[in-house]
């Protein structure tokens, strides 16, 4: 029993055996290939096909309805193989066809069949249609320059021509069935020659040899490539995990920050703190709708990059293929929308901060009996933590914190020279607003208290704002005027506060020390001995009594 096809050759229908069909098909393919590029090729092909149809028809009788392989063989024999067509002009065109009639671009492959090391030079020779010897000579000549490196690079980037179609492309021949068969036949005959060469040697030896044919260089290279591949894979996985972890971490922090509504800055007993964006925004926006819009804008510009980070991580690890434009373009659009919202609101907000007003309040204080004014900080529970937090926060102008549902800020402290013989205290309250009037009102609303007993001035560690007051960069400066020749002594408990104000590493632990005004500058003196330091002259750090001092004093004023 045989499988059977029905074919249409030039308008005639034939039943044909499978093997006969394959042979005929291959033959016609060869004919087509042979005449395709020549003038009137299509006509020749159709003439030949119709002649073949005619010959096949003659083979059929009433008893014999199917074309067999034998019939096809006879037809082919009569018609002849393309290379037997003795026509001078066609021959010339056939040569063109081998060189590739359609000018299909060649590809650069390593030619493993003619290689010495990796087949780089032989591949180049095939590509440029020259003797690979020249490339080999080139590599050898440049052995002390870039030759070996270039060779390795070419080895890595040029694929080995493995399949027959690779080999045809390497030589610039068209990839079609007849060329592939031709090429395979060549290989088979080459192999036969090889076998002939090896005749006499035992079969075992030959088999062993073919196993060892994989060049030792190739084996080493493959090993190195495998290692590099695993290495890269490991890095990619680590990178992916890092991206996911980072994304999740930022996302959690962000959502805590959005959901946390108690405090702008939350200080827990364990020292873990968080910044509440919601609270911060609430303290800025008078209008609730604008607040919601601002939160949406911020979520968009923050969450999208986080999600993309996680997405990139997952993509790296699992190496899945997903059309990224379905993710990338919507994500980018949303992000830009968020950005626009934020810019519009930001521009709107900038107006609310456009005017700045400072109101000044002077206070006369009880003059100390001696030369020294003692200053301490009013101690409350949590004060230290709060001040430390403010100290670390370093928001520059933004020294406003919400603490225990109340807006509080740390005032700035300055000492200057007094015009008179007595100590004075002035408060400068600063606030911003959309116009002068609102700014002034806000500055007057700032609440700051201090008290005094005998020789000690007790300062509150923070100023506060009335309830529901919006944050408009409110600030308070305490200016203490010190008469010439008199001293100021800072209390032990005030260390945090003064560290915050004299934010300079050289004056750490400045509490417990005395300060004296001389040459219109506050200078530090020790308990036992008064040493005058003029840091402003040299602006260099000096080491006195184990304490580093520098330009801090000039900063104070």
């Amino acid at each position: 029993m045989k499988k059977n096809f029905t074919v249409n050759i030039c308008g005639s229908i034939f039943n044909i055996d499978e093997d006969a069909f394959e042979k005929l098909n291959y033959y016609l393919e060869g004919i087509k290939n042979h005449f395709k590029a020549s003038e009137g090729g299509d006509e020749i092909i159709s003439d030949i096909e119709s002649r073949i149809a005619e010959m096949l028809r003659e083979k059929l009788t009433e008893e014999k309805e199917v074309i067999t392989l034998d019939d096809v063989d006879k037809v082919i024999q009569a018609m002849g193989q393309p290379f037997e067509f003795e026509d001078e002009e066609e021959k010339a065109e056939q040569d063109n066809l081998w060189a590739d009639g359609k000018k299909r671009p060649k590809r650069l492959f390593r030619d493993g069949d003619n290689r010495i090391i990796g087949g780089v030079a032989s591949g180049m020779g095939a590509y440029f249609n020259t003797d690979p010897l020249w490339f080999r000579l080139g590599f050898i000549a440049s052995i002390f320059f870039l030759g070996p490196l270039l060779y390795i690079i070419f080895w890595l980037i040029m694929p080995l021509a493995r399949s027959t179609s690779d080999k045809l492309e390497m030589r610039g021949q068209k990839v079609n069935i007849s060329n592939i068969k031709k090429s395979i036949n060549e290989e088979i005959s080459a192999l036969k020659n090889k076998l002939d060469d090896l005749r006499g040697e035992t079969k075992d030896v030959f088999q062993k040899k073919s196993e060892n044919q994989k060049n030792i260089f190739d084996q080493i290279l493959e090993f190195i490539i495998t290692i590099i591949r695993y290495f890269v894979k490991a890095i990619v996985v680590i990178l992916g995990i890092s991206l996911i972890a980072l994304g999740i971490f930022i996302a959690i922090s962000f959502f805590v920050s959005i959901l946390e509504t108690d405090n702008f800055v939350h200080i827990s007993p364990t020292g873990i703190s968080s910044l509440s964006i919601t609270m911060f925004l609430k303290s800025i926006f008078a209008n609730g709708n604008v607040l919601i819009l601002a939160i949406i804008g911020i979520i968009l510009i923050t969450v999208i990059p986080i999600l993309m980070l996680i997405y990139a991580g997952i993509k790296l690890i699992f190496n899945f293929k997903f059309k990224s434009r379905f993710i990338g373009i919507p994500a980018l659009s949303l992000w830009i929308a968020g950005l626009i919202i934020c810019i519009v609101i930001g521009a709107h907000m900038a107006r609310s901060f456009s005017h700045r007003v400072i109101t000044k309040e002077d206070f006369s204080i009880n003059q100390p009996t001696g030369n020294t004014l003692y200053i301490t900080i009013k101690q409350e529970q949590g004060t230290d933590e709060f001040i430390e937090y403010g100290n670390n926060l370093m928001f520059g102008g933004l020294n406003m914190l919400s603490y225990k549902n109340q807006f509080i800020g740390i005032p700035k402290l300055k000492f200057i020279k007094s015009d008179t013989d007595s100590f004075h205290l002035s408060l400068y309250n600063i606030a911003r607003g959309i116009d002068h009037k609102s700014a002034k009102l806000r500055s007057e609303n700032i609440i700051y208290n201090f008290s005094q007993d005998d020789t000690t001035l007790i300062l509150n560690p923070y100023f506060t704002l009335p309830e529901n007051e919006l944050w408009r960069s409110q600030n308070t400066k305490i200016i203490i005027k010190v008469p010439e020749g008199k001293k100021v002594k800072l209390g032990e408990n005030a260390s945090m506060f003064f560290d915050y104000n004299f934010n300079n590493e050289y004056i750490y632990h400045s509490s417990g020390k005395s300060w004296e005004l001389s040459n219109e500058r506050i200078e530090k003196i020790t308990h036992t001995k008064t040493i005058r330091i003029s840091p402003s002259k040299s602006r260099k750090i000096r080491k006195i009594s184990g304490i580093h001092l520098s330009t801090c004093c000039s900063n104070i004023i």
Partner: protein
């Protein structure tokens, strides 16, 4: 040099002459031409003829028309043109000269 190659080249030279001669008698169908040529052993494989016919047709030495056939699809019948007849005369002349000279040379031996 192999014998078959020399023979094939000899045949190639006269193939056009013979084909034109066959067609010049009366309009001919490809199979007729092939039969003639095969009988005289001028043609080894049929494939050779098709490109030749097409080339002669394209150069204006031959024309063709389709004729219905009782046994199969329409057949292509070739006919010689005036230009073709002129060429044929030239070729016959050349052939006559050639055979004369060649025979002379061969017989001398």
């Amino acid at each position: 040099m192999n014998l078959e190659k020399i023979r094939s080249q000899m045949r190639k030279g006269v193939l056009e002459l013979c084909t034109l001669s066959i067609i010049s008698d009366k309009p001919a169908y490809v199979s007729d031409i092939i039969e003639h040529l095969k009988e005289s052993k001028l043609l080894v494989v049929e494939g050779t003829l098709y490109p030749l016919l097409t080339r002669l047709k394209n150069d204006g030495f031959l024309s063709y028309h389709w004729e219905e056939s009782k046994t199969g699809p329409p057949r292509k019948y070739y006919k010689i043109t005036l230009l073709g007849e002129a060429l044929l005369k030239e070729l016959q002349q050349a052939w006559g000269d050639l055979t004369g000279t060649v025979n002379l040379i061969i017989k001398k031996k």
